[in-house]
Amino acid sequence: MVSKKKKVKKKILQTFQDTILNLQKYWIKQGCIILQPYDMEVGAGTFHPATTLRSLGPKPWKTAYVQPSRRPTDGRYGDNPNRLQHYYQFQVLIKPSPQNIKKLYLNSLSTIGIKHQDHDIRFVEDDWESPTLGASGLGWEVWCDGMEITQFTYFQQMAGVECKPISVELTYGLERICMFTQGKKNVFDLIWNNEGTLYREVFYQAEKEFSAYNFEFANTDNLFKIFEMFEEEAKSLIEKKISLPAYDQCLKASHVFNILDARGVIGVAQRAEYISRIRNLTKGVGQIWLESQI
């Protein structure tokens, strides 16, 4: 009797790490190469060069990976049950977008405990735009019983260049999905593994300390200088036509900008100016990357 009960419980509850594993296994079967997270601070899985740069140019490409994503302004010192300045995205990018992508996506949900027959799955209009990447796409946010669990986007433009062919990007919000499948109201209560380790034990301290850094302690004078240095480095690398290292510099500049933004030292007009400076760098990188692809 007792063992039976346990079994039932296990089946319902998918741990955080199982969710990642199951998505990886599923997308391997669809022919994606599994990459590891990019080793740099980025705001979203989209910034990984395996998405930004690989979505440009004619060569087919299929990949899936987890990307830790940093959004300094979203930090809440670990006090808010739904907000984090660091969280995980599971990212899939396929070029050209396959005809049956919706089916592939819905099937992927059932491998992580969301049976689409039992839930109200909706594709709600959400056109995506990233001013720093000079990118835009059309698609949806996917709602499951009223909660957004995935961004589903057909890229139309990247680094200021029209995409051809078109890539499709799926971005799963892993914490949200697990809160949903595990029935948790607080992200820190998520069950990470079968040993009972909680998300709190892994990340609570980091949330607290990074919020303090992002909002209070980051040395803004230095960061302004560092931004200039990264920008300069990116420009010089673009001139030398080495795209990947140049792109790294853009990412670094972009993250520095995000911290400055969180510190509240960038005014509205200034903000637009910084964004356009980063966009100009990304566009430059996009151009030399494209030249290298032909």
Binding site: N82, P96, S97, I121, G146, I166, K185
Partner: protein, 690 residues
């Protein structure tokens, strides 16, 4: 005649694209049928679900008869190539053509014989073009296809007269087959007619007809709420949107924890309506309740849908509650200096600078509006503090409203709270306007400050762009004056506002701003009156004498004249003025004569002149004594009452007397008459007079 129907199956089409495509595609078809003279009668409609866009014509004629026509080809001297092209495009040979002279030279002609063309052929050849011409507000590409569509188009089903059409559109070939399941797009199904198509989906609970779907949702909402003794607030826009994002709607009753009802209700409503597309409910006393309805696209057999949605709302409200508790206790007055870190606009200082200016302006108006200067100055000082709050960060559409709630929570006077809450009003042409004097004063000061600032740094709206919504603000100000029935000294406010900028070392060309803004206001008022369907010449006649300090007067005079111009009063006024005006015009254009508009009664030769003179003086007295009482109908009536004196004058007096002194005096009298009429408005601008 036979039925024609078309189904365009795509991935989920956003609501706004769907409704536009329904209208435009049907229009394109009707235009096409009319142009090709393909007769149709009976039902002609378009429907949609998120995945299916349908066109249905119940009766379409099978064929059209094309009359014989002569088609002109190239000039006979044109290169051989041109002729070859002409032959090819008409699919004819050289023996089919002949030469003919025209005014422009000699040309080849082809006489196209009468032909019967089957509608089916026309549909097959023109449909791709019709589809290509849907004006998507936003469209996209996918895969490596060249097609643009609102969302990826997956299949085209087109049936005419029971048989499938077979045109090709980009990579798709149309057929009588479509996808049965919208999610996996695996199972296909064949249809032979519209009826079987509709009944097939009906049996599966899918309502293809969006009008019926909308009615269904509305009825279900009302039924479910009245069962619970509640009132559901049905926002039309939301209902339309929700209709377009479901195909088999199910209304599900959900609730949230009652403790959240302590959060300002605007936050709850925005969360439910805008973020989650739910329908909130109210009790008999119009209080918001913790019960709401969701429209699911699936039967909630296991209860997951309800629980899931409730959890989402709970999480959102928890967030809002957290911020509400934090923000409402942050002392508003102490935070004023924090506005110094918040830029208002480049060249216009910080928000701290802005509220200092608003404070002075609202202080100036306080006398005119008979309100406490002290109270309006407090309201001005703290009206922008909510921009610093987390809640406005989360709910930007509630700026002002949240400020009002914070002020209330901190015990500020209720006039102050309301003024803060309403100072962004009106937010659109249909939105309500501030009515209470404190709200009016604050809203007015805020808007004048913005207008003067942006004109000061020369960021005026252009004909196509108005990025800082200055037109909208000005229309808002005009509506505030008109709908509150309160004339305000706008010019003085504009000038004072410039000074408040100058005091902060922001130097503008004050005189230029004042002039430009006055013109801008009058232009907006003209537009506003045009939208109210006031005649263009009446608008001109009323705006040509009065300026920005008389907006209410202009509007009322125009409105009254517009109403009366077609009836007896109007015609009497206009015809009287016209006779005098025409003679004056003719005389003054021909000769050099100085007419000042003051006749000498000593020179009158008869009673008709004396009577008219007396009447004019009566009218003048009336205008002096009652002119400020805003009885505009009365003002027109007294002008109309001069009809008798005017016509008797013209019937019995010859203006063009040989004695030049008498003539001049009579012209003076007529000028007096016109000038007196012009106390109402510049009648010479009316169409029937010029």
């Amino acid at each position: 005649m036979s039925e024609f129907f078309l189904e365009l199956f795509s991935e989920e089409m956003p609501a706004t694209l769907q409704s536009a495509a329904r209208i435009k595609l049907l229009e394109n078809f009707k235009n096409f049928f009319e142009k090709e003279k393909i007769a149709y009668k009976g039902e002609a409609n378009s429907y949609s679900t998120p995945n299916r866009l349908l066109i249905y014509f119940k009766n379409l004629s099978h064929e059209i008869v094309q009359k014989p026509e002569e088609i002109r080809g190239p000039n006979i001297n044109a290169p051989e190539k041109a002729l070859e092209g002409f032959l090819k495009s008409n699919q004819i040979e050289k023996k089919n053509i002949f030469k003919k002279k025209t005014e422009k030279g000699e040309f080849y002609f082809y006489k196209k014989p009468e032909r019967k063309i089957r509608t089916e052929e026309l549909l097959n050849s023109y449909l791709p073009n019709i589809l290509e011409n849907i004006p998507w507000k936003k469209s996209m590409k996918w895969g490596d296809y060249s097609m643009f569509w609102g969302r990826p188009l997956k299949s085209i089903l087109a049936i005419f007269n029971g048989k499938p059409l077979n045109f090709k559109y980009h990579h798709l070939i149309c057929s009588n087959v479509t996808y049965l399941d919208k999610d996996f797009e695996e199972k296909l199904i064949r249809f032979k007619d519209f009826k079987s198509y509709m009944s097939y989906f009906k049996n599966r609970g899918i309502i293809i007809n969006n009008n019926l779907r909308r009615n269904f949702i509305e009825k279900e909402l009302i039924k479910s709420s009245s069962k619970k003794n509640l009132k559901v607030y049905i926002n039309e826009k939301l209902l339309s949107e929700v209709t377009d994002i479901v195909e088999k709607p199910k209304v599900i009753l959900c609730s949230f924890d009652k403790k959240f009802l302590e959060i300002p209700k605007e936050i709850l409503v925005v969360t439910m309506q805008k973020h989650q597309k739910y329908f909130p409910t109210f009790d008999k006393k119009e209080n918001l309740t913790n019960i709401f309805f969701i429209i699911a696209d699936i039967k909630d057999q296991k209860g997951f849908v309800r629980i899931g949605n409730e959890r989402v709302v709970e999480a959102r409200l928890n967030d809002a509650d957290f911020f509400w508790k934090k923000n409402k206790s942050q002392n508003l007055v102490k935070r004023v200096s924090m506005l110094k870190n918040m830029n208002y606009f480049k060249g216009l200082g910080t928000y701290f600078d802005k509220v200092q200016r608003i404070r002075k302006l609202s202080g100036l108006i306080s006398d005119e509006l008979l309100i406490s200067k002290e109270k309006i100055e407090i309201a001005s000082t703290i009206c922008k503090i909510d921009l610093l709050s987390d809640l406005v960060g989360e709910f930007p559409e509630l700026q002002g409203i949240l400020g009002g709630h914070f002020a209330q929570a901190q015990g500020f006077d209720k006039d102050i709270c309301l003024a803060i809450s309403e100072h962004y009003l009106p937010t659109g042409p249909e939105s309500k306007i501030p009515r209470k004097p404190y709200s009016l004063a604050l809203s007015l000061s805020d808007k004048i400050d913005s207008l003067v600032g942006f004109f000061g740094i020369n960021l005026k709206p252009t004909s196509s762009k108005d990025p800082y919504a200055l037109r909208r603000s000005t229309i808002g100000l005009i509506r505030m004056i008109l709908e509150n029935n309160k004339e305000l000294k706008i010019k003085e406010l504009i000038n004072y506002s410039s000074l408040t900028y100058n005091e902060q070392n922001l130097k503008f060309d004050n005189k230029k701003i004042s002039q430009e803004l006055s013109v801008f206001f009058i232009e907006r008022l003209k537009n506003f009156m045009k939208e109210k369907e006031i005649r263009a010449d009446i608008i001109e006649s009323t705006t040509s004498f009065y300026g920005v300090d008389s907006l209410l007067k202009i509007y009322k005079k125009a409105l009254t004249l517009n109403k009366l111009i077609k009836n007896e009063i109007g015609t009497d006024v206009v015809s009287g003025y016209k006779r005098a005006h025409n003679i004056l015009n003719a005389e003054l254009n021909n000769k050099e004569m100085e007419i000042s508009g003051s006749a000498d009664p000593g020179l009158f030769k008869n009673d008709f002149e004396k009577n008219l003179y007396k009447k004019i003086n009566d009218i003048r007295k009336y205008y002096v004594n009652y002119g400020n009482e805003e009885n505009y109908e009365g003002m027109l009536k007294i002008l109309a009452s001069a009809k008798k004196e005017i016509s008797e004058f013209f019937e019995n007096v010859i203006v063009n007397d040989k004695d030049l002194t008498l003539k001049k005096n009579r012209l003076e009298l007529l000028q007096m008459l016109c000038k007196t009429f012009n106390n109402y408005c510049n009648f010479s601008k009316l169409e029937s007079i010029t």
